[in-house]
Symmetry: C2
Subunit: 415 residues, 2 copies
């Protein structure tokens, strides 16, 4: 059986003028791939009848069209009347949808408005699919063999409906081709050098496997993936090829799992029953922010001192004022004193510190914008390193955060 064609359409002016970033397409693509389907394209259009009809017509070669957005309670939504036009039907009151909206308002203790009642008006020929996450309906319609599913645009609602209601229906209706992937996380080597190192291996990959390079903030994520009707063969081939790949680039690999570096550090520390704390200047709390997004981080993370104002480095972290005066605030002695200082202050096993010039101003000839010193203190003493992360402020903050976690990881795994 052939792989079905799946397309996504996102509707919303707000997506085209940049006020909201469309994260639904990426999420749907990931979920579909994980369940043996493949997203072929994702189209974003505005709230206009013509754009919607054009997009629907352009999707008639697909087996499944997942439409998100355009179903909210307010007047900027024109999706439903256009759906009726395309499918040659009209709106009618749907009791099941109405009961669902009433139940939702009761649970939340809010009053319903007339607009919310309007959300229960659905195309006559649609199959109503319950949305227990919000008031917007989910609808299933078909035309000449193409299935159109309409979902709310709110990510939380869309994800819930997709998992609870749609995925089981898709599996019943369509043929899924086994898909599997492996991810190898590398750092300390650029994309093109990595490619040169693995060129021969890559050229001899079997047809049903492909490799993608996904560079991001001083790391390159390698994704080896494939589809094959024989799931066992696919799995065994991926095992074998991943083994060959990792042998070629072992020096640069920091994880064989698709997880961010802070998650790698989290898992290591949990295993060892150890803790860390950070002293942040140029990273401004981002080291703390990314670790505290992980549930349970209080087990391994003691806290942070963001000493953005220079005198606070002395007052809070105990960096001697003369060290700052003699060496400058962005210097090796200062970052090492910060790392040791926060380790003592927070009573942690490891202290991580950053001091640098994130820009866009503040650089000097000796210490240009992008210069960052990173230090890690432990029971063994303190290590430190100087980096330059370029001129973009957000980029400097993100790359310094990742480099700090990589230096911390290196210290944790020291035998």
């Amino acid at each position: 059986m052939r792989q079905i064609i799946v397309k996504n359409i996102s509707i919303g002016d707000e997506l085209l003028i940049g006020q909201v970033i469309n994260t639904n397409a990426a999420w749907l693509g990931e979920q579909l791939a994980a369940h043996g389907f493949q997203l072929d394209s994702a189209l974003t259009i505005g709230d206009s009848e013509k754009a919607i009809l054009d997009a629907f017509n352009a999707c008639m070669d697909a087996d499944l069209v997942l439409v998100t957005g355009g179903l909210g309670p307010t007047a900027d939504d024109i999706t439903k009347p256009t759906v009726c036009k395309f499918f040659g039907t009209e709106l009618e009151f749907c009791h099941e949808a109405y009961d669902n909206i009433v139940a939702l308002f009761n649970r939340r203790g809010f009053q319903m408005s007339e607009r919310n009642r309007g959300q229960a008006m659905l195309p006559k020929t649609c199959q109503y699919i319950p949305n227990t996450y919000g008031t917007a309906p989910c609808m299933w319609l078909e035309k000449n063999g193409t299935v159109f599913v309409f979902m709310p645009g709110v990510p939380f609602e869309m994800k819930g409906i997709f998992n609870d209601e749609l995925l089981p229906r898709f599996k019943k209706r369509f043929h899924a081709v086994p898909y599997e992937k492996r991810v190898v996380m590398t750092t300390g080597i650029g994309e093109s050098f990595l490619a040169d190192k693995i060129k021969d291996w890559e050229e001899n990959l079997p047809d049903f496997l492909s490799l993608a390079y996904l560079p991001q903030y001083g790391m390159v994520r390698l994704r080896l993936s494939g589809r094959h009707k024989n799931a066992e063969l696919l799995h065994a081939t991926l095992d074998k090829e991943t083994e060959k790949l990792t042998a070629l680039i072992s020096d640069y690999i920091f994880s064989m799992e698709d997880k961010p570096i802070e998650r790698v550090v989290f898992d290591l520390l949990i295993n060892k029953g150890m803790t860390f704390a950070s002293a942040e200047s140029c990273t401004g709390g981002n080291i703390a922010h990314v670790i505290t997004l992980i549930p349970g981080s209080s087990e391994i993370f003691k806290g942070t001192a963001v000493t953005y104002a220079t005198p606070m480095k002395t007052k809070v972290l105990g960096v001697p004022a003369e060290t700052i005066e003699n060496h400058g605030v962005v210097s090796q002695p200062v970052v090492e004193a910060m790392a040791k200082g926060v380790r003592n202050l927070m009573e942690a096993d490891f202290g991580v510190a950053t001091t640098g010039v994130a820009g866009p101003s503040g650089g000097t000839e000796e210490t240009p914008i992008g210069t960052v010193w990173i230090g890690v203190a432990s029971a063994r003493g303190v290590v430190s390193k100087r980096f330059n992360f370029g001129k973009d402020r957000e980029n400097v903050i993100n790359r310094a955060t990742i480099a700090a976690y990589e230096m911390l990881r290196q210290q944790i795994i020291v035998p």
Copy 2:
């Protein structure tokens, strides 16, 4: 003159299996709108010749097609040969592109690889546009009156080239229709209730204006926007309609500018020459993180103590241990002591503190998951408030951060 049709195509398998979220389309849409153009659609496709050719053909009704991605140095990129096929040309070595790559490697002190040399092979008929941000080229080609511009997919490079090189060329080549928008930021009222309050006003808006509701983390952003060849009329009408709108919902407005709440606070503090510091428990450094993304934040931001481990609240911030013991760590007395403590420690005008249960575990009947106490200390004393932000960890952190900045803003603007 008519409004030109602009379409965006993003190329990359990684965008369709969810490993990378496409933020380029939103950014391009925003920039285009701000300069009098309008993004009509954004299509994401995979790295396949057929998908690329289909997408190019489907864009031949556009005046301008902005293509991002597919120009990296590695083998997963098939864009350039496909471009040659579509435009009926072939690749040739471009000296200008090569010199640019060499210069970039020299600046960074890296060695060039053979693959990077390959990036200087460009379609013969293309106009080469310099990319000083990276090694991928930017290319301009035309076919039957439709302009195709190919940009790197790396957001940092794409943005730089767009601003430096492309926007001036677009302005010379195409006619821009005046576009203007107003944004009203509201909090404390849901989307459907807001809609009911302004229904009559909204229904009587002139045809060339439209209103969008953009809900996010306990706020609703209202965007009133329009296009009109008469820029003065557009401006005056927006003035008048915005005035009517704000009169209807004045209780819920926290800003009339489209900027995040931390930016509102930044501007207020810069104007007053005042500073703040934060003591963060459940927000885990996010209050610091969002303010330090703003260039110049060191003027108004002294620092943060993330006291994730409970004893650190006593040791670093001076919260009396018996206060924590008697009232619990998520309590009004603790948050108030934290706010006062960090204000003293960091020698700031305002101290902001959070303590709460971000979840997914750690809730009790008295203090369920999502409970957050927020406090703000100033020379006038301390204010505090209890919130519940629901069960999703990231949502709790984000909503608590926004609420903390809103409480800080209220204290700054007290006469």
